[in-house]
Symmetry: C3
Subunit: 390 residues, 3 copies
């Protein structure tokens, strides 16, 4: 018994099977077959490996973004000069990846809780009876104010008048503000961390550079006017009604070469309603929000309400790193061998079903066992030959 197993094992190790093949010497079939095989080979090497880099595995980064605005705005309204610094025009102030730079505003000063008539045009009335009902937008008191012919509401008074948006925008100087972006990415699968302050982008360079698509594509300091122009907007338009711009930081990296070549690429585009699109998409252009500064005056709580129109910037980090990996490589090779097999199947179909001498080739390729009664003679020779081995 033990001997038998040893024999079987040694048989197994000292033998090996290789398929017997017919070498078909037919020009037409040969050429067709070789062309298909070369095509498959070209696809696997050229497309899968070289073009699509199928020998690499991919990873997406986790990232963190910090932003800092610089610049001072200036307004002069009715002779009152005012400057606006970072603490005044950036929301929120702490340097998030998504923030709003105020470019225009409607200010309503000295609001206090009370009862006052609505704006002309909203809730017009001729008598108190028109001012009932469950409108959720405002808390009506049921009184129609004679002078304005509008309903009285319980609200922060006086109510905000936002019918006319200041044009030109109050803070056109926002065009010259600069934005500094710090971005740090980590590819967990490959254990690589990078910052957008790559090699060569040091403190000295940062202190004097300004981003330009061709001349300074790695400078992390951006002029607002440039960003707006590169994303296809007109600055005055977007500054007046507000808008949203995505700043895409693209990290497409190949870690088979030195990690130094892994550098960010900045692109800019409008969000929520591209200017190149139709009116339908523009339905939602414009960006504004309301913001209140509260204070006490004469022991009474008051607030300054600001309807802020501004440019919202979203720093969107997009990443795709690739690195050689044995698994996708061998999967690609393995399935490539499979497709190679398909080439042979196609050639066989031509050989066995289309060629005039198909019957001859069929006989060359196949050997029949005698268990099927249909054509005993055809198998006589081979069966005899093989049987004699026993």
């Amino acid at each position: 018994m033990k001997n038998q197993i040893t024999n079987a094992l040694s048989d197994f190790f000292f033998e090996y099977e290789t398929p017997r093949q017919v070498l078909v010497r037919n020009r037409r079939v040969g050429v067709v077959c070789r062309i298909i095989q070369l095509g498959v080979l070209a696809y696997i090497i050229g497309w899968v490996f070289i073009y699509e880099k199928g020998y690499q595995s991919t990873d997406v980064a986790v990232s963190s973004v910090y932003t800092k605005m610089k610049g001072v705005g200036y307004t002069s309204i009715n002779g009152t000069e005012r400057v606006w610094d970072v603490a005044d025009y950036v929301f929120p102030s702490q340097g998030d990846a998504s923030f709003v730079v105020m470019t225009n505003y409607i200010i309503t000063e000295g609001q206090k809780m009370g009862k006052c008539p609505e704006l002309h045009g909203k809730h017009n009335c001729s008598s108190n009876a028109d001012c009932e009902g469950g409108s959720f937008k405002r808390q009506m008191t049921g009184v129609c104010v004679d002078e304005t012919k509008t309903c009285q509401v319980l609200a922060w008074c006086p109510v905000e008048d936002d019918l006319v948006i200041p044009d030109p925008p109050m803070l056109m100087s926002a065009e010259n503000y600069t934005l500094f972006i710090k971005n740090s990415v980590t590819f967990p699968l490959f254990g690589v961390s990078r910052s957008n302050l790559v090699e060569g982008i040091d403190a000295g360079y940062i202190s004097k550079c300004l981003y330009h698509p061709e001349d300074a594509p790695l400078c992390p300091i951006f002029r607002l006017g440039d960003i707006v122009k590169l994303s296809g907007f007109n600055f005055e338009t977007i500054a007046t009604v507000g808008g949203a711009i995505g700043i895409v930081v693209d990290w497409t990296c190949n870690f088979d070469v030195s990690v130094k070549h892994c550098k960010p690429k900045y692109t800019f585009h409008g969000l929520y309603g591209n200017p190149a699109e139709t009116d339908k998409a523009r339905a939602s252009v414009g960006y504004n929000f309301r913001y209140a500064k509260h204070y006490m005056e004469d022991r009474y709580q008051k607030r300054t309400l600001m309807k802020v129109f501004g440019i919202r910037f979203d720093i969107i980090v997009q990443s795709l790193a690739r690195k050689f990996d044995i698994i996708p490589t061998l999967t690609a090779i393995g399935s490539g061998v499979g497709i190679f097999g398909v080439a042979t199947v196609v050639c066989d179909l031509v050989l066995l079903y289309l060629l005039p001498k198909r019957a001859f080739y069929k006989n060359m390729k196949f050997k029949y066992t005698d268990t099927h009664a249909q054509d005993p003679d055809s198998e006589a020779c081979s069966t005899e030959t093989e049987a004699s081995k026993k």
Copy 2:
């Protein structure tokens, strides 16, 4: 020499190899084998290609979200009426993807820096000796206040009394607020950008629609009460103690059909502590934070502290786009051919080891070379035949 290479090349191009095969005419093995092969074929075509869409590559979107609340709240405390507008109840105000809507609050007005006794129940004492030690929570002065029998602390005074949470919540009217979501997604691999204001969702429609799971599944305007109900919470409960709700915008898209069919799907669920789970999970239900409004009164800095209870909404964008790609298609076909080969191996095992006539089939399938001394006779015929070719 040159001639030789030309010959070899022409040989290579005008020949082709195809494996010789035995056509086993055995009903049992044939049926077993065909069933296995059909199973493999059904799996590859039905499962991999049709069901799992294995011929497509996938991509995840980068996205940007902007939100806007609408609605006015109303409170009447001790006869003092107040309305709360967007600038009062949304944190932060600028329309982030993650924000809090205040639904309840504990207000502590007129706090100023000073020394005052702690709340009853916290840091009880009978003498100054009880008020020593290094508690990090409060800055103790080492004095036990006789009237309250609590330690004196250096703090914003008077200290906040948050032992009792107002119930019912102060701002039940929050149920009728509406939330407008703008979401823009970009699939970088396929170069497709979409907005949740898809075809047909124009300014006219938005001005009058309200989201409903069946009737208006694409309307981007949501009533807060509906969101809370759809995520399985009771509005009064969540409004009282606060809670967190995720609004998932699901972009599952197939770019092999028209991009118009790529539409968002909104779902809602509780975060951090599902109401359907056990007490253990609920350990962390409730959402609140403290927020201060600073002001000057009589040249003295004061603040109004608000403990805000509210519903935190997180707009979570989830995306998966698919599109035909030649690489996964051919990988699937290639590995399918490989699995087809496994079917033949299984049938061969049956044929060569289980059938009664296995010895016969073995002879049909295999040809032995004579280098192995074990059974020289069996190979005589074939060796002769083959040798004669030379």
Copy 3:
């Protein structure tokens, strides 16, 4: 006709093809071939399946994070004692995944809009002529102030003096603040939701635990000093000039085992400028932003400007879940079979081109058709034999 199809079908179902093979009994080739085949098998089973878990598909989570700080800071400046509570030192206040804890500050109180000389060192001048020109940073009035020898600017006056950063930092006590993180993740592909308050981390445990890498790795409450130390910073340094720290919550889960084993892992590292890196990277260390509190005094708008130095925390959720999936399993098997085929090709190359008896093996393996005129004799036997079948 119908009969013919039935016959063809029954033929197809009751037959099956299996390749004819040569069993080469050659020790050298056999051993080489078996070793290659075993290597391939070991790679597929050991590497692809066991090590890389190639039978699983992967998914990345969508997540939501809520944070809450606790602790009170204390400062005593020129005898004026002050405490700083959460509402004072966390920006923003509502518990975002990214927030700043103030640890140091430069305060400029009572600023009002007006004209005042610049700080010494900035815009020095000897006459009004030096104060012209288009500097965007400040709005100059064109006047050189005699006393300070600096240009006059229109600004919030007095201008902030941030030349000297307080050292030691004002709020060293921040070291003892605690941070509570609630994190909820959902793996959409597998339909699994998890919270970082996993089994065993209940309200009772949370009330008294503190994160420690070994002793309490699942406690979601972190001491700020510990976080800073674990991320490799010195607390006093980072507290003085500010810095950014990423708190990575790593969800690496295997859903083939019980979902209970899917637990978060917390790691900490510096962002934007690793302390272990060179000066170049450190170019961008430090974190600060300006923040203003507005108030009215004597009917005049004033503000308190704070230049906040602090630690910015980014909670970064990193996730990778794996689960058995039939598609990658069969793709791995299928392409493995393909690679197996490569092993045979390699052995064949050895057999047919390197061995001394290669001509003999070539004859065993190949059968030639007679359509090629080059060597008619060599094919005589086989052609005759095969032809006789017809």
